[in-house]
């Protein structure tokens, strides 16, 4: 489980997070919503110690993140907003293997994880394809596979639908649904709630670096529009 307590994060003068308390349980599916600049990305980067809080603290599975970086990054995997920046290798298979290799696993285990992760995102058999030949939706799915291969307790996706066309969007959504059913806990960051609301156990909205809403989708849907979030015409 991820536990953030009183996190304050500043960029120079800008206060990006202004005292955020949030706990995410194992197995939970949380949608983190909020307008551009509300602090969503900054918050999730705290979940695995990519940045340090100026005030407050974050723990993962009960251990302080900054003191156990490897543990935190094994437990929480993030797929960032710009998936094309995350691909580190020239081919699909090599890219997915990158994380497991860093964990020092043996080759068989690495191969097992690579096939499993590629299967989960429906890219099986594409191991030797070059990454630049993939479409936008495939790149996004590959980035998800790279994170899945870490076999994290929590998978965080920062704006996974940006720039995807409808089929790509649907295919990513279908993968997320399947993962959810399989028991992975998901945190989906988005400012566009169409479809993902049906995925969520819980919706948390940020505004100006604070948590302003936190509840089940049906409870909070009507209030979300106040915070510049795009809400589906017929929610749930």
């Amino acid at each position: 489980m991820i536990q953030a307590e009183g996190i304050v994060h500043r960029y120079g003068e800008t206060v990006a997070l202004d005292g955020v308390d949030l706990a995410i349980d194992d197995g939970e599916c949380v949608v983190l919503a909020g307008a551009n600049g509300s602090g969503k990305t900054t918050l999730v980067r705290h979940f695995n110690g990519l940045v340090e809080p100026h005030e407050g603290s974050v723990s993962v599975n009960g251990r302080d993140v900054s003191e156990n970086l490897v543990a935190a990054r094994t437990a929480v995997s993030i797929v960032f907003q710009h998936p094309e920046d995350q691909l580190v290798a020239a081919t699909v298979g090599a890219d997915v293997a990158f994380g497991p290799e860093n964990l020092g696993l043996d080759r068989d285990e690495i191969d097992r994880r690579v096939s499993k992760a590629l299967e989960a995102v429906n890219l099986s058999g594409r191991e030797s394809d070059r990454v630049e030949t993939l479409s936008g939706g495939e790149v996004e799915r590959l980035a998800i596979a790279g994170a899945l291969a870490m076999e994290p307790d929590h998978l965080v996706l920062d704006e996974p639908f940006t720039g995807l066309d409808e089929p790509a969007r649907q295919s990513v959504l279908a993968r997320l649904r399947a993962l959810r059913t399989g028991g992975t806990s998901l945190v989906v960051v988005t400012h566009d709630l169409r479809d993902v609301l049906s995925l969520a156990d819980r919706v948390v909205a940020l505004s100006n670096g604070r948590v302003v809403l936190d509840g089940a989708p049906e409870e909070v849907a009507s209030e979300l529009t106040d915070f510049d979030v795009r809400v589906p015409e017929n929610p749930c």
Binding site: D85, N102, E132, A147
Partner: protein, 240 residues
């Protein structure tokens, strides 16, 4: 960080070519007169330039941070000799004066950076370097200013994405190659998009340049530049 800041100081209103002239001439004079007396005069002049640019000594020192260890180490190492007497303090004098000279040159350069917008720098380049080379250099310079923040952000993202998957556990050369390859890929993609955009906007050899005109206020700067040049050249001609 030392960068351009809008303002209306005396230096802000000077023609960029005049400021470039002063900078280069000042450096030449500083190399010609690296003596205590010379550096006192030049030091006053450098402070005058900062004053005219409404720039603090502190702000300009920030551009020097990286060089400080070098400036301190050079005199120390030069004073050291293998074998007795091990340290010859008088040997440190020359290098120490040289370090002071470097600081002064940085001050004058800082005054330029603080007071000259990119547009004016570009226009100056395009007028000082004739022909097609000047056009390419001018546009190229403005593109570097434009893309630097983007590429910096790209590199940060790449490093972050790798850290998230524990790339930090790898050997230094592998880490370097991953960061550089990521930066390279993004930069090539940006260059492709950019070149299309440049063509769509009719990137031409003969554009209208931003206006630059020497005015009366540039006279003191031009006189100063000329004076410094003459002073720098005199010793070479056997005077002074």
């Amino acid at each position: 960080m030392l960068t351009y800041e809008p303002g209306d100081s005396f230096a802000h209103r000077l023609d960029p070519r005049a400021k470039l002239g002063v900078q280069v001439a000042f450096a030449a004079a500083a190399f010609a007169y690296t003596t205590p007396a010379g550096l006192v005069v030049l030091g006053l002049l450098a402070l005058g330039c900062l004053r005219a640019a409404n720039t603090s000594v502190r702000a300009s020192l920030s551009a020097l941070k990286f060089a400080v260890p070098f400036l301190l180490l050079a005199p120390v190492v030069e004073a050291f000799t293998f074998g007795s007497p091990w340290v010859v303090p008088s040997d440190a004098v020359g290098p120490a004066l040289a370090s002071v000279r470097v600081v002064l040159v940085f001050f004058v350069a800082a005054a330029y950076v603080r007071t000259t917008p990119i547009r004016e720098s570009r226009a100056a380049v395009q007028r000082l370097v004739p022909g097609r080379i000047g056009t390419l250099l001018g546009v190229g310079v403005s593109l570097v200013f434009r893309f630097l923040p983007l590429v910096r952000r790209d590199l940060l993202r790449v490093r972050e994405a790798q850290a998230a998957r524990l790339g930090t556990e790898r050997r230094l050369d592998e880490r370097l190659s991953l960061v550089a390859a990521g930066g390279l890929r993004r930069s090539f993609a940006r260059a492709d998009a950019l070149s299309l955009a440049l063509r769509a906007r009719c990137f031409a050899w003969n554009p209208t340049l931003p206006e630059l005109r020497f005015g009366r206020r540039d006279v003191p700067a031009l006189v100063l530049a000329a004076g410094l040049w003459i002073a720098a050249i005199l010793p070479l001609l056997g005077f002074g």
